[in-house]
Structures are given as structure tokens and as C-alpha cells.
């Protein structure tokens, strides 16, 4: 095998066979997808969250080898969807964004949650966002925003 092939934001892409490379680096360096942030680099902050087959994962500890044949979506790909527009508007209205560094990861965790559970309880939202740190908002506004998105976007998930 000399290439790793996967779907990235809807398009088939290939990378040289370097399976231990972090997906985070591949996305930022090779594809210029810089909405994917590096915070802690060890899976604790969630700033690098992306979707793998519609499940949120931490791209900073995801070896490229595990991505072969999978469907990867980053915030850049998700931005083109109606579901994103609903989440974006809810985050704006509820004041869920301050500095913005955690926001792409928060949005991907929100999409992963609503995809599996379109009408989550507060507790389910807290668990879904438990791997995403935000040092600005204190979280309440983000939880409110996810709740708002699930109501406004009813039927989209």
C-alpha cells in the first residue's frame, strides 16, 4: 500500500502512506483546513474535533492509518449545510462564542450529538460536550445554544 485514501468534506482524497501521522497535521498542512485547531494535542480539549463517519473524534490523536476508507468532515465541509446554519445562528443568538477557538470543535460535537439524538436533554448535551473545553463562556450559553439548535432545526436531524 502506498497511499491512504479517504473522503474529505465530500471529495475523495489521497495522501502518501504515513499512517502514524496525526490527522490534525494532515488536515492543516496538506489541505489548509485551519478551522481544525490544535489546543492540548493530547485529546483533552476537543479543539481539533472532526467527524469520522458522523461520529466526533479528536484528530490530534487519530493516526492517519485509521482514516483509510473513512468519511471525514471538518468545520469547513460542514459549513455548507443547512444544519450548520441552524447551529451557527443558535450560537450567535445565545452568546455561545467569545474568543472562538473552541467553537469549531463545539460545533462538530453538537452535530455528532444531534445526528444520533435530535432532541437531547441538558444532561445529554453536557455529556456530548464533555470533551470540549471552553475557557470563555462558562458553558451555559453553549448548552443553551445546542438546545436552541435542536428546537429550531427540528426535522433536519
Amino acid at each position: 500500500m502506498n497511499e491512504i485514501i479517504f473522503t474529505l468534506n465530500g471529495k475523495t482524497v489521497s495522501c502518501p502512506f504515513e499512517p502514524t501521522r496525526r490527522l490534525l497535521d494532515v488536515l492543516r498542512q496538506d489541505f489548509n483546513l485551519i478551522g481544525v485547531k490544535e489546543g492540548c494535542g493530547e485529546g483533552e480539549c476537543g479543539a481539533c474535533s472532526i467527524l469520522l463517519d458522523h461520529n466526533v473524534v479528536n484528530s490530534c490523536i487519530l493516526p492517519l492509518g485509521n482514516v483509510h476508507g473513512k468519511d471525514i468532515m471538518t468545520i469547513e465541509g460542514f459549513k455548507t449545510t443547512k444544519r450548520f446554519k441552524v447551529i451557527e445562528q443558535a450560537f450567535i443568538e445565545m452568546g455561545a462564542v467569545q474568543c472562538g477557538f473552541c467553537t469549531p470543535g463545539m460545533v462538530m460535537s453538537t452535530e455528532s450529538l444531534l445526528h444520533h439524538n435530535p432532541h437531547p436533554t441538558d444532561q445529554e448535551i453536557k455529556i456530548a460536550l464533555s470533551g470540549n473545553l471552553c475557557r470563555c463562556t462558562g458553558y451555559n450559553m453553549i448548552i443553551d445554544a445546542v438546545k436552541k439548535a435542536s428546537i429550531v432545526g427540528d426535522g433536519l436531524w
Binding site: D25, R28, G46, N55, N58, I61, P63
Partner: protein, 280 residues
Amino acid sequence: MVNHGMPQTLEEALILLKNDEYQIIAGGTDLMVQHRHWAQTLPKIPKPVLFIHHVKELNYLLDTPEYLEIGATTPMDMIMSSPLVPKILQHTIEEIAAPGIRHMATLAGNIANASPAADGLCTLIALSADLVIASLDRKRMIKVEEVISGPKRNKLAKDEMIIAIRIPHQDQSMSEFYKVGGRRADAISKVSLAAVIHVHQSIITNWHLAFGAVGPRVVHDIHTDQRMIGMKIDDVKRQTDAIIAMYEPLITPIDDQRSTAVYRKQVALNLIRRVIINLH
């Protein structure tokens, strides 16, 4: 130099393992952190890596009359949400990391990494789980606790890999997992206790306590546990202090970056008290 391997089938994986020495990676959520290097550089993994994530035949849950079998590449999230899985194991996985990690991480990896603080390991040992281990030439079964030789060390031969975990069905109406960590998500345990317990007509018929992060390996002493079998709940409650004293010499924690020996010991003993208070 040997290249990294990305087998699609178990047979391919075992052939590669037979011929060369590899570091096996399933989800990678632990090893990618352990071998982490600077940002934008490759992790420093000392051996070629065998990526088993794509071996689909190991991604399953199978219920039989005697046991539940979990394939080695089944992600934790899938295990956690399966109705086949004992509640104590579901609760344990809920306390491990966060969704982004649980979607990739595996229980088999949690075992092979052999951390004395591994929550999954703690509960599997309390559940008397077995491992199915395979090499190209043979398959064998071993108790989960027997595969661990020390902190971060396991007894797998270099051509072997874990292919499944077997959890025997058992009565365990009062089982619970307790974790003490720095925060609810993404915390490595300071102390943990998996208690697998069954009470029938006010008499203890099953009793296994496994403690995490209080010794070089998960602490589980079958001889001490056996002394509880046949006791009436009322007697257990009356003799709480004596029972705690019986477990006390087994708890030998150390100071490290996450906690102190003194705190860990006290909390571990308090958790035994909580288990006894909750008996009914």
C-alpha cells in the same frame, strides 16, 4: 526496515505479527499520546505499527449462553450503548474520557496498555473476564488479570494479539463502579473501585472488589473476596470496620502527579464503606 502494516483480515494481521515485531494500534487514543512528539511531527513510536482498526471481523458483540464476547476492535462507544453489556461495564465506559475518544478507543487497548489506573481493566477484572489471544499457530484463553505483569507491561508474546474479551454471565444485582478523578470527563482515575456483587435472600453470593490506581497493578484478591461469600448483609454492615481492615493491607498506592498515597488510601477505604452502605 519493516514497514507499518494495515491488515484487513485477522489472518493477514497474524501473518505480519509472526514475521516481524510490531506495536499494535487499535484506536490509538492512548499510544498516540504516550509517543507524542512536537506538533506537526510524527509520534516517536519505537517499532513499526500494525494498525488493526480495519480488521472488521474483530468489531462485534456476541452473546452466548455462558458469556458475552466483545471483539478486540469494537469501539468503546459501541460497547457502552449495547443492551447486551452488563450495566457496570456501561457505567465504567461512561466514566472513561469523552465521546471523541470513546468513538475510537477500544477495551482491548485499555487492557494491553496495562495501566494500573485503567478503568476498563478494573471492571473487567472484577467481572472475572477472560481474554482470547491468538497467534498464527494457536489460540489461548487467559484471565484478564493474569495477562498484566506490571505497570504498562503485559504478558503477550510478540506474535500474539488480543482478539476478544469474554465476560462470563453471572448474578450481579448490586454491581457498581466508582471513580474519583480531577473532573468528570477526560480524567485519569486517582482511585477507582469496581464492585461486582450479588445478594440473594440477604446473603452475599457473589463478591469481587477491584481497585484501580492504588498499586502497580489493579488490586483484586480473590481470597479476601471469598471470605465475604455466605455472609448476611446485616452482619456485613455490622462488621464494616473489620471488612475494611481486611482489605487495607492490599491497598498500596504511591504519590504521583495525579494524587498522593495518603489520599488514595483513605479514599479507597472510604469507597469500600460506600459499597457496604449501599447493600440492601
